[in-house]
C-alpha cells in the first residue's frame, strides 16, 4: 500500500463500526411518535458527541442515541450503569431516516429515571 499510515487509520475507522456514519441531525426524529423500548443493552458506546446504545425492540436491533457524555455524567449516569446485559427502558422518538434508530428522551436504569434533554 502506498500510504501505510493511512491504511492503518482507515482500517481502524472501519473496525469502529458504521454507527457514527448513520448518526443524524436532531431534526430527523419524529417527535410526534413516542417509542418505548424495554430491553437488555446489547452494546454501549460512551462517546462524543452522543452516547449510543444498541437495544432490541420487536425482534430488531435498534440504535438509540442518548445524551452527550458530559450531560450523562451531570445527570448522574456513568459508563458502568450501561454495561451490556443491563436491563433498561428507553423512551424516545424514532428516526425519520433510519428504520431502527431512535433518539432517547429518557432512560430508566436501576429503577431510576434519567431525563436526557
Amino acid at each position: 500500500m502506498k500510504y501505510p499510515l493511512f491504511g492503518l487509520f482507515f482500517s481502524g475507522a472501519l473496525l469502529t463500526g458504521g454507527f457514527a456514519a448513520a448518526h443524524h441531525g436532531w431534526g430527523s426524529y419524529d417527535a410526534g411518535r413516542l417509542v418505548s423500548v424495554t430491553s437488555d443493552i446489547q452494546q454501549a458506546n460512551w462517546e462524543n458527541p452522543h452516547v449510543t446504545v444498541v437495544v432490541t425492540h420487536e425482534n430488531k436491533n435498534w440504535d438509540a442515541v442518548l445524551a452527550p457524555p458530559f450531560r450523562m455524567s451531570a445527570r448522574g449516569l456513568n459508563p458502568d450503569m450501561l454495561k451490556p446485559g443491563t436491563s433498561v427502558r428507553l423512551e424516545g422518538y424514532p428516526s425519520t431516516r433510519m428504520e431502527t434508530e431512535m433518539r432517547a428522551e429518557r432512560i430508566v436504569v436501576g429503577g431510576k429515571t434519567y431525563e436526557l434533554r
Binding site: 456514519a21 462524543n48 458530559f70
Partner: protein, 155 residues
C-alpha cells in the same frame, strides 16, 4: 479521496481522543462558539466601518477589529478540526458543512483580495468606494459560515 480523508481523520488519535474525552470535546465546543463570536463580531464592525462614511478612518477600527477576527480564526481551526474528527464521515458529508466550507473559502479569498488591493490605502485612511463591495461580501460570507455551521446539527 475526500471520503478516505474523512475516514482517516475519524480513525486518527484526534478523533479517538475527541470521542472519549468529555472535557476535550466540551472545551472544543465552547471555544468554537467563542471563536465564531470573535470572527463574525470582529469582521462585522470593520466591514460596517468600511461601508459607513465611505470607509473614512476605517483603519482606526480595523487595527483593533482585524486582530480579534484573526485570533478567532486561529481558535476556530484546531477546535473545528477536533469537532469534525469526532464524526468526520457523517459531518464531512453534511450538506450544511459543504455550504460552510464554500463560504469560508469565499471569505478567505475575499479578505486576501481586499488586503492585496486596498491594504496600503486602508492604512493611509483613503479607501476607494470599490472597497465597499468587499465589505458586503465579507459580511455575507462570515455570517453564512456561522449559520451553516450551526445548521450541521439539524441536518
Amino acid at each position: 479521496m475526500y471520503l478516505d480523508l474523512l475516514a482517516a481523520l475519524e480513525g486518527s488519535w484526534l478523533g479517538h481522543a475527541g470521542r472519549h474525552s468529555a472535557w476535550l470535546y466540551t472545551a472544543a465546543n465552547l471555544l468554537h462558539v467563542l471563536g465564531a463570536a470573535f470572527v463574525v463580531g470582529g469582521i462585522a464592525v470593520f466591514d460596517l466601518k468600511v461601508l459607513a462614511e465611505h470607509g473614512k478612518h476605517a483603519w482606526q477600527v480595523g487595527r483593533h477589529a482585524i486582530p480579534i477576527a484573526a485570533a478567532g480564526l486561529l481558535l476556530q481551526i484546531p477546535t473545528g478540526v477536533l469537532l469534525l474528527a469526532v464524526e468526520a464521515r457523517a459531518l464531512g458529508t453534511n450538506p450544511a458543512f459543504y455550504v460552510k466550507l464554500a463560504f469560508i473559502a469565499l471569505g478567505l479569498v475575499n479578505v486576501a483580495l481586499f488586503h492585496a488591493r486596498f491594504g496600503s490605502a486602508l492604512r493611509a485612511g483613503a479607501l476607494p468606494p470599490e472597497a465597499r463591495t468587499y465589505a458586503l461580501v465579507s459580511l455575507l460570507a462570515w455570517i453564512v459560515t456561522l449559520l451553516a455551521g450551526r445548521m450541521i446539527a439539524y441536518l
